[in-house]
Symmetry: C2
Subunit: 438 residues, 2 copies
């Protein structure tokens, strides 16, 4: 018997009608003989409404209490979903994150899953129930306080449960059809990716693709959970995130018409997709004394604020001898804090000044094929040059190239790259790379 | 150091503004140096809204899931209240029923508290917190499922916690000023009772007084918890339910102006109050064979449906020899079920027919002074007779007389009794009883 974990996001359970539709979908899998565990987010805008309520009584609500409050959202959706399933004649029981054994650290609002001990879920399944589990929440290991996992936390709950239960597949139902070669709002010719490796998906997520959060993909990769990202509003197949062959019995939907079946063997595309990110800003420290330890000083100052730095560039200053300029990117939301921390240390470190630029965009090209196909970088630079887009910073990994451009040029940069790598769905064929180097 | 448990009902925490007001009230007690544990109901209409939502997906939602759903209501109010208190500069932590150690049986929707193990609450208090506990909910002893206690359950939570914590007082904040000598909507001259014994309050609650539920008063009596029922919308003292002297340090409110202080010594009123109840119906079984075992048959039939019977009258039938009529009252909501069960057994028991009358009202006069003051019953009958109210059924306890009247005469019956016992506040003096018998 197969076990499937299905996760439904807030837009899939926005109201009573949506919940009934989702219940029917879940019941179809149970009818086929699968064991089913469902992870559910809060209904529609519930979480935002609860945050509003909190802000009405306290400008900075205590984190423990905010987590206690927000977890009410999934408690509602999971119980109502269990009722809707029971109304179709199937047994269903709902469980909070704590009851489902989702053990976390105590970082309220952004807790990390430490362990999953799903004894009650296994018992519920063994008794013939469809188990409904609250996403986004857990209980802290030592103090037994209620915690939330932060943005995208329900996906992580689903993957973590799938790992702990050794599920055959984890289906993530969302409001889009899967992962696309680029954001279709920017690139109309973008197409859905059938299959993508964990590694590529991690790079996509880290580069701004919003369908799956990085932490969730990391978890899936670590425990080799096949993840199927798909729309809860259609029966079409979505995007498989896996390094192994797609499990055949879950390749098609029980509700789907026959003609929707498609080939889901692992493709060997060189470039999987083009991601973009508008959430970062660039900080440039001008006139840093070019002596050992100064760069370390700067990054230690920023790290002390618990700010994640993304790209870093260091140049010999063109202005004065013995001085250098250091640029890095960071989330815009951390910008003000970083600037303050750096200004406070200006005398001690001895740099000239700090410049802040929040009008930047980041474009990333991701593809496992890069490893074996030189020329990928050259293709990007040529395409951007032809499109009149200047490159401000560059960073690369084994399977990714990222560049920083002006924010107002980002959309045309993404379109140019998408076309250059042959990803436009009307063309349908990949370019051939030659030459040496990347 | 004193420990006070305070319970706030849904109307006291209906919105963010009310919650802030309640937070201020709670903080005043903490400022005085008391340890404070707060029990809170769901905000305003939350519970009704959740029930509506459940009914949209399932006509008969599974009881386990309905309890899971409804407990989300207190989770929201308790977390928001804790935030509001924290915003005033006090430490506050919220706890679910389960976290607070409220252990129940597994009768979903009407669970009974079996035990309270408030270790986490004690720890929170010891650490200087105001502990906020979700009312109305607990966790089942064996299966660890979430349960609700049913109507008035938050009051019971408060009294049970007060007992387990050995609190000095349990304050029940509600939207009325306390317990009145009669419902002020019916008897404008009704006045607030300053002090009432547990026994009298139990009779009042069982007779239809809605301020406190019977189960809550039973709990308070068993553990000798002094209960102070009062309004959350004023600083006036309310009604003390206790057999002991009122604890002096809680007799007045820290926010109350001096002139509101009043004498709260135990009064020796003969009659404490007049309660009424419109929720019952009368069933009459006509033509029951007057042989042993037939009455038992009838009540076993009704008991098998788990229906609570209140008053019972058996008369020799005036119609035929060897037959008798049996009448009893029961909650209107159980009427249809009782009738069906009785009709099903009509042949086996061999009675003539069943009559159903839901146009009845019950009036009860409660007072510990009845024991030592004969003539109380005669006063009632005379008053009702003068008011033109016929008595249909009668039942009595040591400290209570109840009569059933026509529903449309109930209001004038209540007014007549209230006046006859000298309870009208403008008269202000009790009548003197004489003669023999009650």
């Amino acid at each position: 018997m197969s076990l499937v974990v299905q996760k439904f996001g807030g837009s899939s359970v926005a109201d009573a009608e949506s919940i009934k539709r989702v219940a029917k979908r879940i019941a179809e899998y149970k009818k086929l003989g699968h064991d089913v565990v469902v992870v559910v987010s809060a209904m529609g805008d519930t979480t935002d409404e609860l945050i509003d309520l909190a802000e009405q009584v306290s400008p900075v609500p205590p984190a423990r209490e905010l987590d206690m409050l927000l977890t009410a959202g999934e408690r509602i959706s999971m119980a109502v979903l269990a009722m809707a399933i029971a109304n179709l004649g199937f047994r269903a029981q709902s469980f909070t994150g704590s009851q489902a054994g989702v053990i976390t650290d105590e970082a309220f609002g952004k807790a990390r899953i430490i362990d999953v001990t799903p004894g009650r879920i296994q018992q519920a399944i063994a008794e013939g129930n469809i188990a409904i589990v609250a996403g986004f929440q857990g209980v802290s290991q030592d103090t037994k306080n209620i915690t939330t996992l932060g943005r995208g936390g329900s996906d992580t709950t689903a993957v973590a449960l799938a790992a702990a239960l050794d599920a055959d597949v984890c289906e993530i139902y969302t409001d889009v059809d899967g992962v696309f070669t680029a954001d279709p709002r920017i690139v109309p010719a973008a197409s859905r990716i059938n299959v993508i490796s964990y590694e590529e998906m991690m790079e996509m997520a880290a580069s701004g693709a919003k369908v799956l959060m990085l932490r969730c993909v990391e978890y899936a990769r670590r425990y080799r959970v096949p993840v199927h990202v798909r729309s809860s509003f259609s029966q079409r197949p979505g995007t498989w995130v896996t390094d192994a062959p797609v499990p055949e019995e879950f390749a098609t939907d029980p509700l789907a018409p026959q003609e929707l079946e498609e080939d889901t063997t692992m493709e060997q595309a060189i470039i999987s997709g083009v991601a973009h990110d508008r959430s970062e800003a660039k900080v440039t420290i001008v006139g840093v004394p070019d002596v050992p330890g100064k760069a370390a000083d700067i990054f230690r100052t920023v790290a002390a604020e618990e700010i994640d730095i993304d790209m870093i560039v260091q140049n010999v200053s063109t202005r004065e001898q013995g001085l250098t300029d250091i640029s890095f990117t960071l989330p815009k939301t951390d910008g003000a804090r970083a600037l303050k921390a750096l200004e406070d240390r200006k005398q001690a470190i001895g740099f000239g000044q700090v410049q802040y630029d929040d009008q930047i965009g980041k474009l990333s090209v991701v593809g496992a094929g890069m490893r074996s196909h030189p020329g990928v970088t050259a293709t990007l630079f040529e395409a951007l040059s032809k499109a009149g887009v200047n490159i401000d910073m560059i960073s690369t990994s084994e399977i990714r190239i990222s560049v920083v451009t002006r924010a107002d040029l980002l959309d045309q940069a993404v379109r140019a790259a998408h076309t250059a790598y042959g990803l436009d769905s009307e063309e349908g064929e990949a370019v051939v790379y030659g030459g040496t180097g990347r």
